[in-house]
């Protein structure tokens, strides 16, 4: 068998195959060969073609595969008898899987493949299908745990390329695999083994993966809420009722969607302190004035210090059904403020809710008391330090000059 492996060119391999065939009780035939006939040679371990590709087929796994019942000629239609001509024609999966084939043709993978992946992917001439579906002679249904596209295996399959730092660097792709694996979706999948956990294809689709710039893509910005809403239906409905969802529906391009706050791949559990503190800056990315006035309050100081024990944006404004105070359904509508503040402060008196958690000491019209207090304190600070600053400097220099004078005398 070593001799077979060493075959350098197509012709050498053909000769070797033929010489092998003599040892087997087979005769040359012209009819389409049975799987058993093909496997007579191809079940031998270690046979390879001139480019070093493994040509060994495990009979048992082929028989157990989805294609096992079809036999060899269903795919390798060009092989009519033995010995067969070389090279063998490339198998076109789309002949049967026309729908998937058509989808793949417009997907980013097909385009990328044509453009550049030729340089980096192994099995260059194999159909793009096999990069994900694996060994063509052992393809099992997607719900089989041994399938590379079984939900629990899928991220690793996609990660073969999308978790490859060299590839990521070369093509400017984010290293999404590690992001995903550490995300709440990835944890649910790898740690908890949940089949319902979102994997790559849950959001991106399987065969027709489109760029997020493509309006038909499920990851296109405006379509993200619908994509996440496939699982998170309740949250999506709340989001669409809220100000952000309404803005998105109204066609506001900058309206935040799920991934604006949660990110696309590094989605963290909302229960982690890191994420709870991070969201404040996230909201403040757009609502900068609100963040500045929040930071001036006790709530904002404590969270800035690194402790998620005081109110953050969404404790008062809600996370998804965010509504303006003018809307009676809003959590910050005057009638609902006792309940909203009461989440932390318990039963609060009427005066308590007239506290403004975003008061701006620079706004004289809306917060005159605060404005004049701030001005007074600034003047006091300035006055005290100007007076005593001068006092101290003069005192110091006089003391020094007197000392040197005294020393001069003695």
């Amino acid at each position: 068998m070593k001799a077979l492996r060493a075959g350098r060119a197509g012709r050498g391999l053909a000769l070797a195959t033929i010489s092998m065939a003599w040892l087997l009780p087979l005769r040359a035939q012209t009819a389409a060969p049975s799987a058993a006939a093909c496997l007579a040679c191809h079940s031998q371990p270690g046979i390879a073609d001139g480019q070093g590709r493994n040509l060994t087929i495990a009979p048992a796994s082929f028989a157990a595969s989805v294609h096992g019942a079809l036999g060899c000629p269903a795919c390798h239609a060009d092989i009519q008898g033995f010995p067969h001509k070389l090279p063998v024609a490339k198998v076109d999966c789309a002949k049967c899987h026309a729908g998937e084939g058509a989808k793949l043709k417009t997907s980013v993978h097909r385009i990328w493949r044509a453009a550049s992946l030729r340089l980096v992917m192994r099995n260059l001439d194999s159909p793009a299908c096999l990069n994900c579906h694996g060994n063509p002679h052992a393809i099992v249904p997607v719900n089989n745990p041994r399938s590379p596209v079984y939900p629990l295996n899928l991220p690793r399959t996609c990660g073969a390329c999308h978790g490859n730092p060299q590839l990521a660097k070369k093509y400017g792709l984010p290293n999404v695999y590690s992001m995903y694996v550490d995300s709440i979706h990835g944890m649910a999948l790898t740690r908890d083994g949940l089949l319902v956990a979102a994997t790559c294809t849950s959001c991106h689709g399987a065969h027709q993966i489109l760029s997020h710039n493509n309006p038909r893509s499920p990851t296109f910005r405006a379509r993200v809420p619908a994509t996440c809403g496939k699982c998170h239906a309740g949250i999506a409905a709340k989001y669409l009722r809220g100000a952000h969802g309404q803005a998105l529906r109204a066609g506001v391009a900058s309206a935040p969607v799920c991934i604006s706050c949660h990110t696309a791949h590094s989605i963290a559990s909302v229960r982690t302190t890191a994420w709870q503190l991070h969201t404040t800056a996230q909201c403040g990315g757009c609502h900068s004035q609100r963040l500045a006035t929040y930071r001036d309050t006790f709530h904002g100081q404590v969270t800035a210090l690194g402790f998620a024990v005081t109110a953050r944006c969404w404790n008062c404004h809600r996370a998804h059904e965010i509504l303006p105070a003018s809307n009676p359904k809003s959590s910050i509508a005057p009638a609902n403020l006792p309940a909203t503040c009461g989440q932390c402060h318990g039963q609060v008196p009427r005066g308590f809710i007239s506290y403004n958690p975003h008061a701006d000491p620079r706004n004289r019209r809306r917060f005159p008391g605060l404005y004049y207090t701030a001005r007074f304190m600034n003047l006091l600070l300035l006055g005290v330090f100007t007076f005593f600053g001068i006092h101290t400097v003069l005192w110091f220099s006089r003391s020094i000059s007197e000392r040197t004078a005294k020393r001069g005398r003695t």
């Binding site: 930071r295 001036d296 309050t297 006790f298 904002g300 100081q301 404590v302 800035a304 210090l305 690194g306 402790f307 024990v309 402060h345 318990g346 039963q347 609060v348 008196p349 005066g351 308590f352 809710i353 007239s354 506290y355 403004n356 008061a359 000491p361 917060f367 008391g369 605060l370 207090t373 701030a374 304190m377 600034n378 006091l380 600070l381 005290v384 330090f385 005593f388 006092h391 101290t392 003069l394 005192w395 110091f396 220099s397 006089r398 003391s399 020094i400 000059s401 000392r403």
Partner: protein
């Protein structure tokens, strides 16, 4: 509002008349300036103040890296708040006790000298004249003013604490008991309270860590530290130099001998210096950090 004159303590030197060696060599004799109660009050004030400043300024500058690191070291936000509130209670108790003592001395013991006169902390006309002549001396235009028992900057320090206690205390307790306070006052007071609390605290901290430290400890003549507030006593030379008018007055009245004291216990002086330098060091570090974060 004057702290009491130190109680009469018998000391070896008390029986003899003051030697008054005309300032040739530093006198080995000591005089009492502060009573143990006053020293204890100051010790309580500065230790609680340092703790309050450390924990409070951490919140005030919560976006600074040093503040976040300090909060972690102390044991988190709840620990910070616990220490801040505990120290506030101690300081409030000390302040109220001081008030009670003063009121008792004025109204029950009828020590009206606390309210007016050379021993009073209430600003006197002389203080304004002293301020003017001190500035003239700074500029080399006149002699150094002859200060009495309390100088004008010492009185300023004393009343600044009064003002600060009122502003920081009232605003602080308002926020501590916000739901209760908002029964009596509108919620906008709570907005004002935090601003007042933080700005007044910053004023106090910066003032203590720069002006008070310089005026009292770091200025030439007292450098590196004036231990009188720890030991309660100063040397005769210091007495003559820093409070010449009081010295002369007491001498003329023949009461100087009443204040004579022996030297403080060496261990007590060392302990006072260690604590004092630690306080000054903490203050300086806080001053630098807060100034850096502020600007």
């Amino acid at each position: 509002m004057t702290p009491p004159r130190p109680p009469l303590e018998t000391s070896p030197g008390a029986a003899q008349p003051a030697p008054a060696p005309a300032g040739a060599t530093p006198s080995t004799g000591y005089f009492y300036r502060f009573s143990p109660g006053q020293r204890l009050l100051h010790a309580t004030l500065f230790t609680t103040f340092l703790g309050l400043a450390l924990t409070g300024l951490t919140l005030r500058f919560s976006e600074a890296r040093w503040a976040q690191a300090f909060a972690q070291v102390v044991g988190g936000f709840r620990a910070i708040l616990f220490f801040h509130k505990s120290l506030a209670l101690i300081l409030t108790a000390a302040f109220l006790l001081h008030l009670a003592i003063i009121l008792r001395r004025v109204f029950l013991k009828r020590e009206f000298g606390l309210l007016w006169g050379p021993n009073s902390l209430v600003p006197q006309p002389k203080d304004f004249l002293d301020l003017g002549s001190h500035f003239r001396w700074f500029l080399g235009l006149g002699p150094r003013p002859r200060f009495d028992r309390f100088t004008y900057w010492e009185k300023f320090d004393y009343w600044a604490v009064f003002w600060g206690m009122a502003v920081i205390g009232i605003s602080g307790y308002s926020m501590w008991f916000a739901p209760f306070v908002s029964r009596l006052l509108p919620g906008s007071w709570l907005n004002v309270a935090l601003l007042l609390h933080g700005d007044e605290a910053l004023l106090a901290a910066w003032f203590i860590f720069s002006i008070h430290f310089f005026n009292t400890h770091l200025r030439p003549g007292s450098f590196p530290m004036d231990t009188v507030i720890f030991t309660g006593r100063l040397t005769e030379r210091e007495f003559e130099e820093k409070h010449p008018r009081e010295y002369a007055r007491l001498k003329a009245e023949g009461r100087l001998a009443d204040l004579r004291a022996g030297p403080a216990q060496p261990w007590f002086v060392v302990a006072g210096k260690i604590i004092g330098f630690a306080a000054i060091a903490i203050g300086f570090v806080l001053l630098v950090l807060t100034l850096y974060s502020f600007f």
